[in-house]
Structures are given as structure tokens and as C-alpha cells.
Amino acid sequence: MNRAKTSTLFKIVIVLYLFIIIFPFFWVAVTSLRPEAEIWGSGALQLKGAAFTTENYKLLFKTPVLNSLKNSLIISTITTIYVTFVASLCAYAIARLDFKFKKLLTVIVLVTSMFPQMIVIGPIYRVFVQLGWTNSYYISLPYSNITLPVAIFILITHFSQIPKEMEESATMDGSSKINTFFKIILPLAAPGIFTAAIIIFIGAWNEFLLSLTLNTNEAWRTATVNISFLRGQFEIFWGQVTAATVVVTIPTLIIVILFQKQIVSGITSGALKE
């Protein structure tokens, strides 16, 4: 095969790939700007002479979609803050300190991330009902389930990369291990911790099952669950559904564009920890 041919094929594949990724978003965004009447039947497939309107968005904002975005934002932020903190402490201990049961702990963290999420949902639901914690921000606590293991693995990778000399010289100066961690290691590991925080936030933002079962009241639903109810109704208004899709996708888009480097590093260091 000659070089020119290969590079043309190469270009075609890349363009096709980008097209496949982008087209669904593009098509949904276009639909969301068209009047509901035009989205029925094959008229929806033609863009020529299409009328554009913001009516779908105006109607959408009368539904609880903004409230659900607020719920998602608060719950994801709480989760991100405490899980990042807890995971940092634990990952540093695993990466650098000696203690019994270290291997056991690593195995437990790994195994809990492998089980189907359904395995914890029943007892958590019952306890939440008994404590009166359903329909509240307490839901952030079981969100640790999906975010803590991956955060710990990302952070173990990052802490292992910090040169050991940093701690050794601090210990020589008489600093205690915990002091060394907070004063010297944490600032050095800040980029890695930030990476973990982004991955935790995306995980919490996208969570579905816990939110579906624990926060059933419409006022407490998160965005992911709330928009799924648009589809469940007997009559589907695609204009509003697509508008909702766009609105819920925008925060993710912003995060991806701003923090793509951290996300890529998080994906690879979380999974390929060795």
C-alpha cells in the first residue's frame, strides 16, 4: 500500500469517526430549536426551510428541569468534596505507608467496584426509609459507592509518582507522617487530586439508580432521572425532550472542554493503575 492511499484512508476514518460522535448531538440540538409541529413525521428529517424557535426551551423551563439541575449540582458537589478528601487520605496510606491488611483493603476496594450496583440498593433503601433520609441530600453518602473506589485507584497512581525523597527529608526534620502528608504531599499531589475530583464529579453527576430509588419525589430528583421521565410519558413531545437533552448535556460539555487533560489522565490512571 502506498503512503498517499494510506493517509487518505486514515483521513476518511477519522472524519467518519468524528461524524458518528457528533451527529447525534448536532441533530438533537437542531431539533430542539424547531417548532413541535414540524418534528412530526418525515418533516422532521428535512432541514430545508425549517422554522426555528426557542419555544421548546421556554416550555421546558416551566417544568422542574432547572430544579433537577440544581439538585444534581448540589449532590455532586457534596459527593466530590468529601469523597476526594477521604480517598486522598486512604490512597496516600496505601501508596506510601505501612500497615497491616493493606492488601486486604486494596482487594476490598477493587471488589466493591466490580459488583453490580443492585447488590447494595435494597438495604440502603430500607435504612434510608427507616431514617427518613429519602428525598434529601443524604443521598450523597451512598454515592461513595460508585466514586470512592475509582478515586482511590487514581490517587494511588498519583501518590506513587511523587519522589520518596520529599517525605524522607521532611521526616529527617522531625515532621510527623500526618503533618508531612498535609503540608508537603498534598500540595505536590494537587494536580492528581484535581483529576480525581473531576472524575468523581462526572460519576456523581451521571448516577442514575440510587437517585431513581432514593429520591423519588419530583422536587428532589436529579437531572439524569428527571429527564428520563420525559420519555416515559404516553405522549412524547420531542421538542421538549431534545431541549432537555441539550440543557443537561451542557454542563458535561463545559467540564469536558475545560478539563480534558485531567479526564484523560483520570481514565487511564484509574483503570491502568499498575
Binding site: 469517526y17 483493603l105 500526618i178
Partner: protein, 416 residues
């Protein structure tokens, strides 16, 4: 001073403590809970079965409430009845009710004020006998010819007696034997495995190809990488909604294109036929996770030293030989991790199907997670649902074992 020395010595334990507490509370304890539920016939919407009871129990509070209400209704009846016989009968029942209260106070609840109290078989039988005799006498009373307030309401209240006696709902391995015989478990498990195998295989092939492409330097590579993140980063329910629009029978562009090129009969059949719906779910899943797979494998490719390719090129190796003898072996650990985690992820699929097809048409695209979810939260059969979930966990264990054996990789990477 002593304290700080102690803290320094135990720094490891102190730092892991918060994580351990959270893991115990929100992962380990619930897993143990699910394990226990599976051995009971537990149903949340049934007052006598909404907890786990090894022994027989009496719901004393409910029993007392029933007595109070019966007294209340009988008092009203007393005001309206005319006949001597009826009055005597009412008096007799009221006396029985008092005796029942006394019996409970003496033999069962003594000084105990808890709602649910454990009892022995003898006491339970005695209580049952007394309750039954009261119900029978009420029946006799209302068949008498007289003016009563509301016999139906009174009898309805009396039927609560039955609910106040709680039999043990320990069911041993019953739930598991039922799960193994449940047709719907077979069909949902089969569906889930078919979905998992096809979509993970497709994701691996496409993902590997994309990773190889993105590993080469070209203009706009970082742009391609950014776009790759988007499908992975958006919530699954959003992706499912996007595809449900693209697939819909009236205005869905993908269902129309598939009809035009002859893949499906009509746009409406995209999600209305079992086979097409399976295909639709797989396409949506492959679209969402292939870029993620590509990034994972790209991470593995980038640590392979370039010198290996250079020296092999000097020896005249062709590019597919390089791929076969350098790339593939060195990429094996990355492929293993990507495959394992994608397989487990695909196996527990719930939200994509919940939103895209709801398990339809006719339950043909119901995943086992979705079935377990419906059993637990629509039918509130927590015991049975837990047994299904445990069978799922067993399959997860088997999948992991097969991967570790087949690819001969150490999961914790210790034997490197």
C-alpha cells in the same frame, strides 16, 4: 507528646479510617444485608413480611389498635341495638376483648412496650384461638336481626387481627431455587449475556483500531481526543434519550436511514421488534463507550517504548508483524483491564435500557439488573430480588475468574 508519637506510629490506620468507615457502611453492610434478605420471604408492602423474622412474632401495637377500634364500634352499636339478645352478645364480646388484653399483658408483652414481640408456639396458638373466637362471635352478632352501625367496617377492622400475628418468613434457600427455575431470570440473563458479548467485542475491535489511529501524530489529534470524551462523559440516561429520538418510528433519522438501506422493514419496527431493539441498544452502547475503550487502550499504547518499533523496523519487520509481536503482547495488561471492567459494566446495564426501551417490546430487552430492580421496587419483593442480585454477583465472579485464567494476568499486578 505521647499522643503524637502514637499517631505517627499508626498514621496508616488513621488515614484509612474514614474510607474504611464509608466502605463498611455503604458497601459491605449493604452487601451483607442483601445476603440476609435473600433467605427470607421479605415483601415491603406486606405488614407481616416487611422485616426478617426467624421466630413467630406478635405485632402487639396492631393487636391493641384492633381491640380499641372494635370496642369503639361495639359502643356505637350498643346505642342503636334494641334486642336483649344482641345486647348480651355485645357484652360478651366486649368481655372477651378485655380478656384478650389481659392475656397479652400477662403472657406476652408483660412489661414490654415494643410493637413487635417474639412469642412461643403455645402462646401464639392461644392468642390465635382467642382472636378467632372473637371474630366468630362478631359474625354471629351481625347475623342477628337488629340495627347495627356498620357491620362491614367492624368486620374489616377485626380482620386486622390476622395481620398482627407474624409467622416466621425465613425461607431458607427457597428464593434461590425459585430464581434458578424462573423463566424470566433465564430470559433476562440470556439477553444480558448476548448484549454483553456482542457490545464488548465490538467496542474492543473499534476501540483498538481507534487507539492505534490516535497513537499516530496527526493534525487535530487533540481535537479528536476531546470529542472522544463527550459520549463517555454524558449521563447514560441522556445518551439513551438522544438515541430514542434518533430511533423513533415517526421522526427518527436513524430508523429512517436503516429503513432506506434495508436494515429494517419500517421506521416503526426499530424499537418494536425484539431483534431490532437489541441491535439498537448495542449501537447506542457502542457509540457511548467505544471512545472510552479507545482512550484506555491509548494509555497502554503510549507506554510502549518507540525503540522497540525502530529496532524491529531495521530488521525488516512489517507493520502487521510489529502489531502481532510487539503491540499486542505489550498491550495485553491494558486490554485485560479494559475488557474486564467493560464486561462487568455491560453486564449490569440498567439505565440505558430503562430509558431506551423500558425492557420492551414484550420484555425481550429486559436486562437482569432491570428485572431485579422491578422485582424489588415495583413488586416490593425484596427477598426474591436479593436472590436474583446474588446470582448476578455470582456470574460477575465467574466472568472475572474466566478472564484472569484466560488472559493469565494478575489483577493486582504484583507478579509483574
Amino acid at each position: 507528646m505521647k499522643l503524637s508519637k502514637w499517631a505517627d506510629k499508626n498514621a496508616g490506620y488513621i488515614l484509612i479510617l474514614p474510607a474504611v468507615i464509608i466502605i463498611v457502611l455503604f458497601s459491605i453492610a449493604p452487601i451483607i444485608g442483601t445476603l440476609r434478605y435473600a433467605f427470607f420471604d421479605m415483601q415491603l408492602n406486606n405488614q407481616a413480611k416487611n422485616d426478617m423474622y426467624f421466630e413467630s412474632n406478635i405485632n402487639v401495637a396492631l393487636n391493641q389498635e384492633t381491640i380499641t377500634y372494635l370496642n369503639y364500634y361495639l359502643d356505637i352499636d350498643m346505642d342503636s341495638v334494641q334486642n336483649k339478645d344482641t345486647i348480651a352478645k355485645i357484652d360478651e364480646i366486649k368481655k372477651d376483648l378485655r380478656e384478650l388484653e389481659l392475656f397479652i399483658a400477662e403472657k406476652i408483652a408483660s412489661s414490654d412496650l415494643r410493637a413487635i414481640v417474639q412469642v412461643g408456639q403455645a402462646e401464639q396458638n392461644a392468642l390465635l384461638e382467642r382472636q378467632q373466637s372473637i371474630v366468630n362471635k362478631l359474625d354471629e352478632l351481625y347475623s342477628m336481626d337488629d340495627e347495627f352501625y356498620s357491620p362491614e367496617d367492624t368486620m374489616a377492622v377485626a380482620s386486622e387481627f390476622e395481620t398482627s400475628i407474624i409467622e416466621s418468613n425465613f425461607s431458607g434457600v427457597d428464593n434461590f431455587t425459585k430464581v434458578l427455575k424462573d423463566e424470566r431470570v433465564h430470559s433476562t440473563l440470556t439477553f444480558t449475556l448476548i448484549f454483553t458479548v456482542i457490545s464488548v467485542f465490538a467496542e474492543l475491535i473499534f476501540g483498538l483500531a481507534l487507539a492505534l489511529i490516535m497513537n499516530k501524530p496527526f493534525k487535530g489529534r487533540s481535537l479528536v481526543r476531546t470529542f472522544s470524551l463527550i459520549p463517555w462523559a454524558i449521563p447514560t440516561s441522556v445518551a439513551a434519550l438522544i438515541w430514542s429520538y434518533l430511533y423513533n418510528g415517526s421522526s427518527g433519522i436513524v430508523s429512517h436511514i436503516f429503513t432506506t438501506i434495508g436494515l429494517i422493514n419500517s421506521p416503526a419496527s426499530m424499537l418494536n421488534s425484539a431483534q431490532n431493539a437489541l441491535g439498537g441498544i448495542i449501537i447506542a452502547d457502542v457509540w457511548k463507550t467505544t471512545p472510552y475503550m479507545a482512550l484506555l487502550l491509548l494509555g497502554g499504547l503510549q507506554v510502549i517504548p518507540n525503540s522497540l518499533y525502530e529496532s524491529s523496523a531495521l530488521e525488516g519487520a512489517r507493520s502487521w508483524q510489529q502489531f502481532r509481536y510487539i503491540t499486542l503482547p505489550l498491550l495485553k495488561p491494558s486490554i485485560f483491564v479494559a475488557l474486564l471492567f467493560r464486561t462487568l459494566d455491560a453486564f449490569r446495564i440498567l439505565d440505558l435500557i430503562y430509558v431506551l426501551t423500558g425492557g420492551g417490546p414484550g420484555g425481550s430487552t429486559e436486562s437482569i439488573s432491570l428485572y431485579a430492580y422491578k422485582v424489588m421496587f415495583s413488586q416490593t419483593r425484596f427477598g426474591y430480588g436479593s436472590a436474583i442480585v446474588l446470582i448476578m454477583a455470582l456470574v460477575v465472579g465467574i466472568i472475572t475468574f474466566i478472564y484472569i485464567k484466560a488472559l493469565n494476568v494478575d489483577l493486582l499486578g504484583e507478579k509483574r
